[in-house]
């Protein structure tokens, strides 16, 4: 089975509720408050939907009702249109990838065997199980020859979590449930694992239900974010840009934080914003002509390029010689170099670090594409701004 040939499922919560039985039921005492109340939402195929909310708000409960580790007390959950309550629980679980914070690798089995657990339950031929385990270890960035025969105790926390992801992907499930999968690793490793999951997802396009209590993680990972409140009540459901631009309630506004404007910056990339042109000249060009052009432009700097159009640095218009040719030594390289994939948040941060108002945007070969100013970033944040992901967030804004 090729890694690329994967399927994705649609998940629908329909008025789902869960009320745990009181630990010691007493006559006359009020029933325990529900852990999840009337949850309805639909996760489209191939999307990452993040359930986010404060601790104890019912995220884990909501997740575990999908693979029937917990049975709802009301409503139903459909996977690809089929009510999971009607499915055989073990069969259902073998079709759904499951990743938990504590990973739960089997300590007595090698990494290879751990990854092949579900294929083994599904009685794949042994050779195919082995092949699949190696394929997946490579996919999550663990060299199979090195890791296959080790035991979980011999791995770092980050490596174990990768194995957990590989194990969940083993039978190519159309749906993955991930409960705070990167909650137990340090921030640097978490960042790397998040990026790798996004890279994998770009290739695999699974439907992923992802639980976290960290709003930054939710915004980064989610195509859709469901903000939940105590009692498993859904407060807002939509793309992260929409949650940030137009919080549906005071709770959501507070939960996403006072810096939600800044957080929106991490949702857009330089490539989403219209770049400004700038007066340029190449090394060796006649200086007089360049000087005339830069004085005709309101922006008081000339950007000097090399023969291949790669930026060298700025020359203040006053310092452009009136005659002769332009020399590379005239230019000061000070603006940070950005590319289309840089987030606006990183771009702004780099510009602040360099103490400049303008970043230079280059393409993959290092050639100039345009410049990006602090004002352009600020404009992109305005609710009526239209570029890229921010546009998606403004539907319904302004109220």
């Amino acid at each position: 089975m090729g890694v690329g040939a994967s399927r994705a499922a649609v998940v629908e919560y329909q008025h789902v509720s869960k009320r745990y039985a009181a630990a010691r039921p007493q006559r006359g005492s009020p029933a325990a408050p529900g852990a999840v109340n009337d949850l309805s939402l639909t996760v489209p195929a191939g999307k990452i939907c993040v359930l986010v909310g404060p601790s104890g708000c019912g995220k884990t409960t909501s997740l575990k009702m999908v693979n029937r580790l917990i049975e709802p007390t009301g409503g139903r959950i459909l996977v690809d249109g089929v009510d999971v309550a009607g499915r055989d629980a073990t069969e259902l679980r073998r079709e759904i990838g499951y990743v938990i914070q504590q990973v739960g690798l089997f300590p007595h089995q090698t990494i290879g065997a751990n990854v092949a657990v579900v294929p083994r339950l599904l009685r794949w031929p042994a050779a195919r199980q082995r092949e699949r385990a190696e394929e997946l270890l490579a996919l999550v960035g663990l060299e199979p020859a090195i890791y296959r025969d080790r035991y979980p105790a011999q791995l770092s926390g980050g490596e174990r979590q990768r194995v957990g992801v590989a194990r969940a992907l083993a039978a190519d499930p159309p749906l993955m449930l991930m409960d705070e999968p990167f909650g137990a690793v340090d921030p640097i490793v978490r960042e790397r694992l998040q990026n790798e999951l996004l890279r994998l997802q770009a290739e695999l396009a699974k439907t992923i239900l992802f639980v976290t209590h960290d709003i930054d993680e939710a915004i980064k990972m989610g195509d859709l974010v469901a903000v939940m409140q105590a009692g498993g009540r859904l407060e807002q459901f939509g793309p992260p840009a929409q949650i940030l631009a137009a919080p549906a309630s005071a709770f959501v506004a507070e939960f996403v934080g006072a810096d939600r404007g800044l957080k929106r910056l991490s949702l857009s990339r330089v490539g989403d914003v219209a770049l400004q042109p700038v007066v340029t000249a190449r090394v060796g060009d006649p200086a007089g002509e360049a000087r005339a052009r830069t004085f005709a432009d309101p922006f008081p700097y000339l950007l000097l390029l090399d023969a291949a159009d790669r930026p060298i640095g700025w020359i203040s218009q006053r310092h452009v010689p009136a005659s002769g040719v332009l020399e590379a030594s005239l230019a000061t390289p000070m603006s940070p170099l950005l590319d289309r994939r840089t987030t606006l948040k990183d771009a702004l941060s780099m510009m602040l670090d360099a103490d400049v108002q303008t970043g230079i945007v280059i393409d993959r070969t290092g050639r100039l594409r345009g410049v990006l100013s602090v004002e352009a970033i600020a404009a992109a944040l305005r609710p009526d701004a239209d570029p890229g992901a921010i546009a998606a967030g403004t539907a319904g804004a302004g109220g």
């Binding site: 629980a89 073998r94 739960g104 300590p107 007595h108 979980p152």
Partner: protein
Amino acid sequence: MIDWGWLAGHVDAIAYRTGQHLYLAAIAVGVGFAISLVLALVAARRRVLYPPISALAGILYTIPSLALFAALISITGFSVVTAEVPLVMYTLVILVRNIVAGLDGVPAEVLEAADGMGHTRRQRLWRVELPLAVPLIVAGLRLATVSTIGLVTITGTISDAFGGLGYFILDGYHRGGFPTEMYAGALPSILLALGADFLFVRAQRRITPWAQTRALEATAS
């Protein structure tokens, strides 16, 4: 001191009694383990049953063997069953508690992962819970085996036909203390206990390589 002549004349008898000693101990530990496994699995599944099962095993352990033999002889006669019943009974308390502790020691997240990936109850027990309980189960078997090898001697009080190496100890004692014969019983039984313990340690190393990973890690780095 040592009566070498007696020893030379009793080589065959010592060999026979050593074999009998092993045989009586092996049956006791084997049967005790089978019974304990069933009891422990019942207790692990139905938690409320564990305290009574554990308490019963504890009470059986306190019954004096001589009283038991006296009672059993009227039912099962001078048979091997009479000899084995107390030996088996004494293994239960150690084995049941260790097996249950082994099953209890399986981390909750491992069980959750096992369930979440679609193991049936039976698959989870055989593929995950019991393998992970092996170190504590083997620890219980070592204790039970060593103590049973020590206890086989008491079966000699039923009749001279039993007792394993303990026969020599009892016989030497009844002769008013014949050291050579008593040593001929005691020393081999100590060696048997040490040897059995050593074999269990070796066997555990082989079947639970994962439990040695800390050691592996240390040598690898």
